[in-house]
Symmetry: C2
């Protein structure tokens, strides 16, 4: 079966795209067939996986308008077993384009359902969301079995967490009763910094086991990698960031197996 | 006259709120009468200036719905000469609430125009925008004389800059012919880091004098301050972050005088 997971958090710059790219790569490295679905008009995930700007059609926009099937939109990347459905600025117009349509929040769910059984087969679909609770993110949450929450170890990011949890509750009661919280991953953590350790303590106290043991450290190699169009696992596989993302992938798989 | 400036960038987490809070405080410290208008449903600017969650009504939402005048919505802060128009989650519903109204992009412009001559008088209005190019940000750009662009010295942030410039062009030709670019301020810069110096070099080459000489360094005191509901200038006025924001305020005023 295809596991569909949304990487979402309305707070900006918390590591959604970086986690989507590097977790997708790590899962592919350990043998899973993965699709990274870029739902952010900025198209950072498409850039971070090296998709040239003029090779992003058909895109996730065409998928949501039901004009192209997933098998047309997904393309191979330089990483074996990892495909991407790229994003373009067209997504900015989606809200206006489908505002009147009754199934506007379920476009992605329908597109993924239409694909199941098709070629290529994916074991994981990771959806990179924009930093807002708009129709794009709602489509992702309605189509997903679970949400993975990247959480920067900063005060403003912590403040937004309770709002995000309320949104998940709201989506669960209106659009998607199956939506679970897969987990919360702390990102850009600097263990020498009091704020980081304070946020970590707060989050573990309130959310307990939902917070992964794996913590992604702040590591400049992680932020350099996208300028080469590569995940950090390819750019520098021995750096602390790469090790942390590989560890996160195996922690997620271990938890999935225990389910 | 009242100078209205939007702090906008659709890339998330680049320092829009942090710059809005600390620049507003620095301008007030040097004698200007400032209003910080929080247009982000997250309400980070309201939190960063110490407005309790249960004291945020009436809010900027009421202003945009034309139900309350600016003099009702703006409230004093702990900082002399600095007022805030707080934000609440109600803003999330704005797009649906005013989607059909022909003046939906000009609500803020009208509200600010209705206030001019009223009490209190402001010399600067700084608008903190959410990380998207939605109706809230469009209202801010339509109501402003200029946009101040906080730019994190990171690759993804640089990638988004050209899209932001296109959006400014588009707003200038459709909603607001007077919209200028006030300037671009580099944020969270780590001068020891090759990526920072590379981004700085790229931006100065493409945008020249539009980029302020003042660079805001990455400084943990800046990210600690909001958890105490204070601008960093109040939390630790001698730290590198505070000095940089005071320097930015005087660079902006010097340029305004030269106009
Ligand atoms: N572990 C890390 N160490 C250092 N830098 C990081 C790390 N993770 C992410 N970054 C950098 O921080 C910035 C924000 O990360 P990213 O763009 O992935 O966040 P996002 O949540 O997807 O942002 P947006 O809200 O704009 O979509 C990027 O420039 C990225 O390269
Ligand atoms: N100079 C700095 N040094 C260290 N940390 C900083 C600095 N500027 C901002 N930060 C921290 O970086 C994070 C992102 O900054 P901020 O929230 O101001 O960005 P934003 O663009 O307003 O984000 P959003 O897109 O979610 O509105 C915050 O946690 C903030 O405290
Ligand atoms: Mg992103
Ligand atoms: Mg902000």
């Amino acid at each position: 079966p295809m596991r569909v997971i949304a990487l979402a958090n309305q707070k900006g710059g918390v590591g959604k795209t970086t986690t989507a790219i590097n977790l997708a790569t790590a899962l592919a490295a350990i043998g899973e067939k993965v699709l990274l679905l870029d739902l952010d008009p900025q198209g950072n995930a498409s850039t971070g996986l090296g998709v040239p700007k003029d090779e992003r059609e058909p895109s996730s926009y065409d998928l949501l308008l039901a004009e192209r099937p997933l098998s047309d939109v997904s393309q191979e990347t330089a990483i074996p077993r990892l495909h991407i459905a790229p994003a373009t600025l067209d997504l900015l117009g989606l809200e206006m384009d489908i505002a009147q349509s009754p199934d506007r929040a379920f476009r992605l769910k329908k597109a993924l359902a239409a694909h199941s059984g098709g070629d290529p087969q994916f074991s994981y679909v990771l959806i990179d969301c924009p930093p807002s609770l708009n129709l794009l993110t709602l489509n992702a949450l309605a189509a997903s079995e679970a949400i993975l929450v990247p959480l920067q170890t900063e005060f403003f990011a912590l403040e937004g967490l309770s709002q995000l949890m309320q949104t998940v509750e709201h989506v669960r009661s209106t659009l998607n009763p199956q939506l679970d919280i897969l987990g919360v991953v702390l990102t850009m953590a600097d263990q020498r910094n009091r704020l980081t350790t304070q946020v970590e303590k707060d989050v573990r106290e309130t959310l307990g086991d939902l917070v992964y043991k794996t913590i992604i450290p702040r590591n400049v190699r992680v932020s350099e990698a996208p300028s080469f169009g590569k995940p950090v696992l390819l750019y520098d596989m021995n750096c602390p960031g790469s090790k942390a993302y590989l560890q996160l992938a195996s922690e997620i798989i271990r938890r999935e197996k225990a389910l």
